[in-house]
């Protein structure tokens, strides 16, 4: 556990970077510090490895006041990932990852062997080991940064806006991988971001900082979204917070069987005709899957003749995918982003199990709301995230 006890940071010019911060960061969980620029979130994180010393108050790790520990020794026991990875440009990928073990006195050979294994762990090809950071993409550099932070197997990891400089697609991948790694490793992670979506996605707990270094709210993500502590938090989490909060709402949704065509099949004569009790538009779209029954896209039957062999080029790419036991946010998004209006639900192996209708998601949301009186708080299952 990392604890801040009445910690303040005041700079000589009188700026209050952090004001009377007290909070406890649980062991083995991801805690996200989120807030706008100048709110003291980075300053706070850097006080954990003594990159910045507090003006008042005590920061302790597992009850031990860190100001009593030699700073370089303390830092070697705390993984640190920085924006743009902060890799050493003059060292190869392998030597970058081996940095902290070498500082701890392990032989270079031994440290490199361990570093090569870490590359696998963070999803990097070993062929990259001999390259320099400038030869990697932003996403790859960030992975090296994570591998370097993990190299000495520290119990605590600090991640300071690590994914803010990569494009949204790569960022989403890196976030997913962090969640996967964390499930294996169970580190105590303090993650800094200004992006509330990232905070909600990654955090077991979120600390929302307001300008001037004031801790505005410290709670689980679902609570921050559904019950902002004050106007600042409500404003910061934004207009879409109702929608975002659906990430933490789980409900049972009726799954509808969906007729599918396999890629390469001929379009049957009855394709495009509505089944009984359905609108004509419902029949117009047919879901196309591959041999593994994984969804590939939707076929507009009005655009192809009967007997045509279905090819990838004929397809309108599908929307996002829902899972039967997933959050209502994913279910609603799957329905809204599908050209047919029917959200595709898949099982763990990505195979189609049926479709979900948007209006039924709304009904489920309504039910979740009523079942949890009073107020607007949703039924939350953070452990199932």
């Amino acid at each position: 556990m990392i604890s801040f006890d009445s910690v303040s940071k005041v700079y000589p010019d009188g700026t209050h970077a952090v004001e009377d911060l007290s909070l406890e960061i649980p062991t083995g969980r991801i805690t996200v510090f989120v807030g706008p620029s100048g709110c003291g979130k980075t300053t706070s994180v850097r006080m954990i490895n003594r990159m910045i010393e507090p003006t008042h108050g005590i920061v302790a790790i597992d009850g031990r006041d860190i100001s009593t520990v030699d700073a370089p020794v303390l830092r070697r026991g705390i993984g640190y990932v920085i924006q743009n990875a902060g890799l050493f440009p003059h060292r190869t990928v392998l030597d970058n990852v081996a940095t902290v073990p070498v500082l701890q006195g392990r032989s270079r050979r031994e440290a490199r062997l361990a570093a090569a294994e870490l590359l696998d762990r963070v999803g990097l090809d070993r062929a990259l080991a001999k390259r320099y950071p400038a030869q990697l993409s932003g996403g790859q550099q960030q992975r090296v940064g994570v591998a370097r932070a993990l190299a000495a197997d520290p119990p605590v990891m600090l991640m300071d806006e690590p994914f803010s400089a990569v494009d949204p697609v790569v960022r989403a991948q890196l976030q997913d991988e962090l969640v996967r790694l964390q499930a294996e490793l169970g580190k105590t992670i303090v993650f800094v971001t200004h992006d509330i979506d990232e905070a909600v996605k990654l955090g077991d707990r979120i600390a929302v900082f307001a300008v001037g270094g004031r801790l505005a709210q410290y709670a689980e993500p679902a609570e921050v979204l559904s019950r902002p502590a004050d106007d600042f938090v409500a404003d910061f989490v934004g207009r879409d917070r109702g929608y975002r909060a659906l990430s933490f709402v789980y409900g049972t949704l009726p799954l509808h069987p969906e007729q599918t065509l396999v890629l390469g099949d001929r379009v049957p004569a009855d394709a495009g005709t509505a089944a009984e009790g359905m609108s004509a538009d419902h029949g117009r779209w047919v879901l196309v899957v591959d041999d593994e029954r994984q969804p590939r896209g939707w076929l507009d039957c009005a655009s192809v003749p009967v007997g045509h062999r279905v090819a990838v080029d004929d397809l309108v790419l599908g929307g996002s995918l829902a899972t039967p036991d997933g959050s209502l946010r994913r279910a609603l998004d799957a329905a809204l982003s599908s050209p047919s209006g029917r959200g595709v639900a898949v099982d763990e192996d990505g195979r189609v199990v049926g479709t979900i209708a948007a209006d039924e998601v709304l009904t489920a949301i309504e039910q979740a709301r009523r079942s949890d009186l009073p107020g607007l708080q949703f039924d939350t299952q953070p452990a199932a995230r």
Partner: protein, 216 residues
């Protein structure tokens, strides 16, 4: 060109060339060795930067000939002692390189330095194994200027009677004879080119990452 004269004096010219190399190389190396710690101090402690850079600038404005003449008095060395030349040129090199080293260290990306600190580097180890290697290309560029300027400044020391390629100019002027003057100029240029190439190669060999091509 009187080739016959050159042939007759080849042995003497070779000796002068080797003396010239020693007199130019020694202050270049010594100046660099002194500039590294002083430049690091100027970079590390902000209050010292202005003082050190100003002192270096003032030092550089002293005419070389004046320094050559004054140093024996200050050091108690004999006027013909080549050590005077080495010390004078070392001071000029130092004056040139202190600022280069300080600014080169200052140009290392702050994120990289912060990341070294966060990994648990002690300040000195970070300076020697992270910041200094990354500053090599800029320091190397400054060193090339210093080396070439030392090759040319050594010639001035001939006015004190210290033997090196400058002797060729004296001989040429005294005899009103162009061959040694041209030979002196060519040899000085050649030496400057060799010094420059050696430093350039050293920088290239010690900075393989600067030529790493993205996306290979």
């Amino acid at each position: 060109m009187n080739w016959e004269w050159l042939q007759r004096n080849a042995q003497q010219i070779l000796t002068w060339t080797l003396d010239h190399v020693a007199l130019a190389a020694a202050p270049t190396l010594l100046g660099l060795l002194l500039a590294l710690p002083l430049g690091a101090i100027a970079h590390r402690y902000r209050w010292s930067y202005g003082t050190l850079i100003t002192l270096a600038g003032l030092l550089y404005t002293i005419p070389s000939i004046a320094l050559f003449v004054v140093l024996p008095g200050l050091l108690g060395t004999r006027i013909l002692n080549p050590v005077n030349v080495v010390i004078a040129l070392t001071l000029f090199t130092l004056a040139l390189l202190v600022r280069v080293v300080a600014d080169a260290l200052g140009a290392v990306p702050p994120l990289v330095v912060a990341s070294a600190t966060a990994m648990g580097y002690q300040p000195l180890r970070s300076l020697l194994t992270v910041q200094l290697p990354l500053a090599i290309p800029v320091i190397g560029a400054g060193l090339r200027v210093a080396a070439v300027s030392n090759v040319s400044m050594v010639s001035v020391a001939v006015l004190l009677g210290i033997p090196q390629l400058g002797q060729l100019f004296i001989v040429g002027f005294q005899l009103d004879f162009f061959t040694p003057i041209i030979a002196g100029i060519v040899l000085c240029l050649l030496l400057a080119g060799i010094f420059d190439t050696i430093i350039l190669l050293g920088v290239r060999l010690s900075t393989p990452w600067t030529r790493a091509v993205p996306g290979r």
